[in-house]
Amino acid sequence: MNQGSVVFAGNGERIASNVGRFKLLPFFAVASLAMFLLVAGALWYFEREQGVFFRDVQQEQIGFFKQVQEEFAARQDSAARRDLLSIHEAGNVNLTRLFANALWERDFAPFVAKAAQLSIDACRAIADVKDEKDGKMKPPAEKKACFSEVGKKIAAFPEFAALNAKVFDTMKKSTVFKIKVFDLRGITVYSSEHAQMGEDKSTNAGWKVAAIDGKPASELTFRDKFSAFEGMVEKRDLISSYLPVLAPGTEQIVGVFEIYSDVTPFLNQIKQTSADIKKAAADNQGKVEAAATENQDKVDGAATQTLTIVMGLLGLLFGALFAIVWRAAAIIARQEKDRDRAQQQLAQSEKMASLGQMVAGVAHQLNTPLAFSSNNIQMAMMALDSYALPLQVAGTFARVVQNCDGDKVLINVLEARARIAGIDANDLDIKIPQAMLQDTLQGIDQMRELVENLRDFTRLDRSKTSRFNLNKSLQNVIYIAKSVIPTEIEVITDFGQLPEIDCNVSQLNQVFLNLINNASHAISGPGTITVRTSVEGERIRVDVSDTGSGIPAEHLSHIWDTYYTTKPAGEGTGLGLPIARTIVSEHGGEISVQTKTGEDSGTTFTVYLPIAA
């Protein structure tokens, strides 16, 4: 058992070579870590993008909200102003009605009629001139003076003072600051600001609306200085309304009033409200922005939290997977080890099988010299036994002759005859025992040759690798193989000149013995095995050809498979050729097969070994 494992030591491990084995754990660790980092990076990026998007949306909403608030404030302001205007216009219309009812019939109608008597054609004939500043056509100073002259003439009417007093009396303590009356020509026939009397307002838009369309027209104006009934006032918001005067009981326009009423307090109130609204809007905006900031923070915080949890989970997942793979790698490694061990055991049994075959062959080979040597020695001994008496006789005779002084001795033939009766002179041929011992010596030589071959084959006492001539090795293998294979099979050698190569001779011996044995198994009855060596380029080529039945196609593709065998269970391990291939490739060589079935069948295994290993 021990012997066997030493002889072919170190093949088993190499069948299941660990070189280039896939390393699961580092591969998984690197690959999955990279993947996890990629996923984590992607998640982080998307979370960040989401934050940015949320901020943009918030900004947009804030802008929209601001716009809405501003628009709302502006609308509210303009609506308040419009309301103010229309309320005051309506008030002014009523006031005009009242005023007209109170003053027109008795006071203003005759006054306006009298003023209308004054010709204004001369004044209107004065052409307008282009203003230097804004490029508009404006009446020149003499035209204004001309109309002013008309005003003065009107003011000079005797009934003017009473009318004026009446107007002032009526309008005092009201919000009306000024009142003007125009005739249908557009001439200011009365103004509470006397200096304006006589002015031509026929081109004024408000007057036109009132005088021609019969509708009131109002506008809001701001004056730094204004002469009101109570005197000069400053910085006032005013509403001026041009109002048509209808003859009582008719729809006939008889003149136009212009009333200035003071809306400064109302407008201030409106302005105050607008300011309040604006402030509220600004406050709201501030709140919205604060809320937005807060939301952004929350969203960012939530994102960070989510990201942290996801990262943590990813880490946990990686850890779990790593643990599983760690365990799996350990199990795989153990299984692989078990498999290796099983394979080694089988390889060992393959070695034992071939060793057993070899031992049987060698034992038989030993038997022949042993048989005749043993037989010869026993017979030689018997012969020696039979020489005892003749030698004794010869000895006695010699002593007698040597002790005799004379030339003659006397022999008692009668006595001697009885003593030498057992001697057969024919049996005293010493040549036969000599030949027997000579043959025995040959037998011992044969046995020594066998032992030497056996030692060369196993090479127990040599270094594992050495420079060797393969022809010598093959000669040795063939000698051993011949003792095993049937005698009907002739082994022919055709050796070419080979250079010595570095090799593990014992392993290569195993390969060649295996190939020759396989060849002999393929042959039933008589046949030949040819072992041929040659040099091909940088390689040594060894062919082992047989005249056997060849390998059928269905087996050919499997011959290198471990455990594949066509022999009955228990006879072949299915490891011979796989081991042979492993050994040859470890020597940097290759092994191939060519086979033919049917007529002229046979198989050739070719081994190539590099010369410079």
Binding site: A363, T368, S374, N375, N376, M379, G443, T487
Partner: protein
């Protein structure tokens, strides 16, 4: 040379062996040697030999092949085989093809070999083979021989398939007795005049070889055919040397081969009846004490279960009666 006991032909490819055998045998016998089967056959054709000794392992012509030819050329010569190692196939071939008298294993014993050869010479000289044998040998595969009464064949096998097959194929010409154990076999001997025994080497887990050897010892006229699944070479040597097995059939048994063997056995049995001295040609070595002990053990094994309740006493008596008749003990 006239005073020599007999003429011996030794064939071996190893000259040292031939010389050694010559030295050993030349005092008593006239020894002629040949270094190959072909040379041996040439000598057999020209001269008459009492005994032919051949090595099995020889280049060119195998020993079994050579002895088969010798059997054809010179049926009266006793054939002996020298074997050095255990090639079962070659041994089975030499049993079936050349009907060897003895196997001699190498290295032989110096005082036994001349005695065995002397016995063979004596048989060859005093119990000549029936003159019809060579023809019968050639016709072995052909026509069935004619005989007066049908032979009884004892099949010892614990399975029924082969018995059915035998009854079907040969039932008309043969009386088939089927024994499923050694006990039944022994009983069958007392009830029938058995001429041929066909047996497995193991029946109901009991080794039958010891029984077969002892049977032949007492009744050399019974022809035995043995089939076996895995026989070791030593068993074959013993069955030949001590049991003079007529044919060996490897398992699984092929019907054609079995048919041939049975036909040959019938013919042999017929020849033995016609030539009373012929059985002497199949004399066996004395069975050694070890084998006798093994056989006693077998009988004990067989007797033990039958000592139970299920087998009646008369059967046991029949066994012991048959046992006594067969083996004289």
């Amino acid at each position: 040379m006239a005073d020599k006991k007999g003429r011996i032909l030794c064939v071996d490819d190893e000259p040292n062996i031939l010389r050694s055998l010559t030295w050993l045998l030349q005092k008593e016998f006239e020894v002629v040697t040949a270094s190959s089967g072909q040379d041996g056959l040439a000598l057999v054709r020209q001269q008459d030999f009492d005994v032919v000794i051949s090595d099995q392992r020889m280049p060119g012509m195998m020993g079994s092949e050579f002895l088969r030819e010798v059997r054809k050329l010179s049926p009266r010569s006793m054939r002996m085989m020298l074997t050095g190692y255990s090639d079962l196939q070659a041994m089975l071939r030499s049993v079936n093809d050349s009907e060897v008298f003895r196997f001699i294993s190498k290295p032989w014993k110096i005082n036994e070999l001349p005695a065995v050869v002397a016995e063979a010479v004596y048989i060859a000289r005093h119990h000549p083979v029936a003159s019809a044998e060579p023809d019968a040998l050639d016709a072995e595969a052909g026509k069935a021989p004619s005989w007066t009464s049908p032979e009884s064949i004892l099949l010892i096998d614990d399975e029924a398939t082969l018995a059915e097959h035998l009854t079907q194929e040969l039932g008309s010409a043969l009386k088939v007795v089927h024994a499923k154990s050694i006990g039944e076999a022994v009983a069958a001997f007392s009830d029938n005049d058995i001429g041929i025994v066909l047996s497995d080497t193991r029946v109901a887990n009991v080794d039958t070889t010891a029984m077969l050897r002892m049977l032949k010892q007492e009744h050399p006229e019974i022809v035995t055919v043995v089939y076996t699944a895995g026989t070791d070479a030593g068993e074959v040597v013993n069955l030949i040397n001590q049991g003079q097995i007529f044919r060996f059939i490897p398992k699984p048994v092929k019907p054609a081969i079995l048919g041939l063997a049975i036909t040959a056995a019938e013919r042999k049995r017929q020849q033995m009846r016609m030539t009373p001295g012929l059985a002497k040609r199949y004399a066996v070595e004395a069975v050694d004490e070890v084998a006798k002990a093994a056989f006693s053990e077998n009988i004990r094994q067989v007797a033990q279960p039958s000592a139970g309740t299920d087998i009646p006493l008369p059967f046991l008596q029949r066994i012991s009666g048959g046992f006594r008749r067969l083996f004289g003990t």
